[in-house]
Symmetry: C2
Subunit: 480 residues, 2 copies
């Protein structure tokens, strides 16, 4: 119980900001923090919780930007009125969550993903630029798909996906990434996230299966595997990608981003690729190859996918249309070895039966008519220009304070900081100047995170890169 | 290993037809059964597997209708050519599946759900009639939603769903079903199936949690809970619905269909409703109320939902648009008590982040503009006429051989058979006459199933009910 509030706050060792924000928001929504009440001062709450004051400030700021609290004239924050739930069925205290399975007892409401437009300069990772997407084409194809669907919507469809879409995807990955597959090897998923979730379900024996992931890496992948009861073990990466020698021998599932390591950006070397497949062969393990932005290469010919090199059916190749088209679409896929197809399809059926049929059919037409290839070509040029402008700007304005990570692919660029500059502090200071950047620490899986920043190319046009990098350079110099 | 085939067939004690069909299909697809090869005779295979010949005949028939095999001139069946996977990466034998988690090792490819049009008379359960759906309206609203979405698709959205849709759903269930909820109590799901899956994830501690389900009941619900490691216990139903006294005291989750028991059709009595809530209170259990076709009532005022009666936040109310609109849409929802909302939203984020945004926004407009209410009113009239025609026909042509189950709601009607008539046999004989009916045994959870049939109202127009019931009556008389 926190003496400053009439209810307990329970912060985990990691993700305190998220937890604090989520628990305060929940208290506002369920009426434990009533409209008009003052929040405790940031200093007092920080002391009583044993967290840094920055954490409390950031949590309050987020509540402010979301409209849950308002700033008081003078100082402090007050809870906004009229937000408490209409339903007065709040379990007393938070004891109710013992009805939840242990893994979910400390769940907090996911934070609102701020729209990219809400900052002057937004260099966050993971947002493609959807403003150039040919929505008129999509609308036309969607209407056509709906017309021809009208007599087929009354039934349930196959969990592995609509055949025309699976055909289009098989053609796309065979052509674009030399992934060897036929239509029957493709399972359509609701984004890459569902692919990870389905793979976690069919591959993980709860409490037994060890899963090796890149560190730093992609946190939502880890969340999916942990939710099914896997032991997730971080394995370091170096300039050649995942350090295969450090994979624990017990690992039976290994997750990698060989085309463009997330978030550092390096390409996995050919030697490491062979070593990884050899590890999998020797230990009877499988590999999940996440090719989340493999379409966007600015250099020469890409290396073969692990899936292409694999001769033994050990690699699951996961792709997504969230980066090449847009995330709101929620469509991705797995190219799976034959021994896993029935389990994958059945797991999908149990989860949610199948993906939205109209979206599947529209995308199938979009790919078949060449719009995907055309859009990727266009966006590749646009991202390449932005990337060049970003890198030039960073070198010019912050060259001595940033070590850029070599990479010639993808939608983000990582950079390491020298000792004395702290990434997390920089992120906070940037927000105060209406600029949104990300620290690599947000992607750390184990205890130690590289001290650095990572910049996304999705939001800022070329014309604003000079201004943004200049501001960043100033911020770095001032923070030394 | 089966002596008649060069690979093993492994049939579980239940669901043999599904397993046999799935394993043969898998063997054809991965080349173990090569194109042009003959299948063993039905008699020989049945003997060698120790199953009834009917099972083998039915599996072969299904492969035939799907095009995996063709009938030979003379007799027998041959594997169709050109079907083996292009990818030659077949793990030797089927040993590969030891890489799968135990629950999924015996997965088979889900069977193709035959389109309703493929039989002369199709009386299967679970398909609404989507031919009357106002697709022109949907197309127009979809285009409008896409236009206003164009600048928001580059980002990820909230896992609990788009706010306008949650508002529309809260309004809909408050008005139509007197379910007490505000916008924040609604979590949008990809159909009711995902609601069950998310609830299974957050409520089940693998190997520990006991889940009570109605028997007969809805098999996909059971599949979702079993996949998360729950012990699923069948509880009988009688004319008043779930027999609450027979719920095992250890049950912590209880699944019911109080508005219209699936598949028998009775309404849960007020006394049983109170007893169920009292059970939940006494044992600290929660209730999942599945109101899958509650919009379609032909009698008087419906009883209050369990959720409405609940004063302690113990009931999850699950709804779907698969029946009121169409299944291909894949949209449903849970109205959840506050203590479970964060876990539900986080579980959804881990599973697949959020539902297709265009579909969500289109549906929000569809509801807000009154089209849902209008469509439900129209379909209620249509289904009521069909139901009457079906019941009259059944009474006229088979009144002495069928005991209709009382019910004044929903999209199906159940009927029990006298001793001497066997539902499973009737289903087989009907197929031979190009008619598709369903046995109640397909919905049994425990060992004993009621001997009866269940008829769906989604496919056959009124004009054909006379013909269909006449044929059914003849079938029943001939089968005595």
């Amino acid at each position: 119980m926190n003496a400053l509030l009439a209810f307990p706050l329970d912060l985990p060792p990691r993700g305190r900001l998220e937890a604090l924000h989520g628990q305060l928001r929940a208290a506002i929504l369920d009426g434990r923090l009533a409209g008009g009440h003052s929040l405790p001062s940031t200093r007092a709450l920080a002391v009583s919780l044993g967290v840094s004051r920055n954490t409390v400030v950031a949590a309050y700021d987020r509540l402010l930007s979301e409209g849950y609290v308002s700033a008081r004239h003078g100082s402090g924050y007050a809870v906004a009125s009229g937000l408490a739930r209409t339903q007065a069925k709040v379990a007393s205290g938070i004891g109710g969550d013992r009805r939840l399975a242990p893994h979910w007892r400390h769940a907090v409401m996911p934070a609102r993903t701020g729209a990219p437009a809400s900052y002057r300069h937004d260099l966050r990772v993971g947002f493609p630029d959807a403003s150039r997407f040919p929505f008129d084409v999509w609308r036309r194809l969607s209407a056509r798909a709906l017309r021809s669907l009208s007599n087929k919507v009354g039934t349930y469809h196959m969990p592995e996906g609509r055949r025309p879409l699976r055909e289009a995807i098989a053609g796309h990955v065979s052509f674009a990434r030399a992934v060897t597959c036929g239509v029957d090897d493709v399972v359509v998923t609701s984004g890459a996230q569902q692919a990870f979730d389905l793979l976690a379900r069919i591959l993980v024996t709860p409490g037994r299966t060890v899963v090796a992931v890149e560190d730093p890496g992609y946190p939502p992948l880890r969340a999916a595997f942990e939710a099914t009861g896997a032991s997730v073990v971080p394995v370091p990466v170096d300039a050649d990608g995942l350090v295969v020698e450090q994979i624990p021998p017990a690992a039976r599932v290994i997750y990698v981003t060989p085309s463009h390591q997330f978030p550092l950006g390096m390409v996995m070397s050919p030697a490491r690729r062979m070593a990884l497949l050899e590890f999998a062969r020797r230990h009877g393990a499988v590999v999940i190859e996440d090719d989340y932005d493999g379409e966007f290469r600015y250099g020469g010919r890409p290396l073969d996918a692990l899936q292409t090199l694999d001769r033994e059916g050990r690699v699951f190749y996961v792709g997504t249309f969230s980066k090449s088209l847009f995330p709101a679409l929620r469509l991705g896929y797995v190219v799976a070895p034959p021994w896993a197809l029935a389990a994958l399809a059945q797991a999908r059926q149990v989860c949610d039966w199948h993906a939205d049929v109209l979206a599947q059919d529209t995308l199938a037409l979009f790919i078949a008519e060449g719009h995907l290839a055309r859009h990727v070509r266009k966006m590749r040029r646009i991202y390449a220009e932005r990337r060049e402008a970003l890198i030039h700007g960073l070198v010019r304005h912050a060259g001595k304070l940033l070590t850029l990570q070599a990479s010639d692919a993808g939608l983000h660029v990582a950079a390491l900081l020298p000792p004395g500059l702290h990434a997390d502090e920089l992120v906070q200071r940037a927000v105060a100047q209406d600029m949104r950047i990300e620290a690599l620490s947000g992607y750390a899986i184990g205890e130690t995170a590289p001290n650095g920043l990572v910049f996304g190319l999705g939001t800022l046009p070329v014309a604003r890169m000079e201004d943004a990098t200049q501001m960043l350079g100033r911020l770095l110099r001032e923070s030394r």
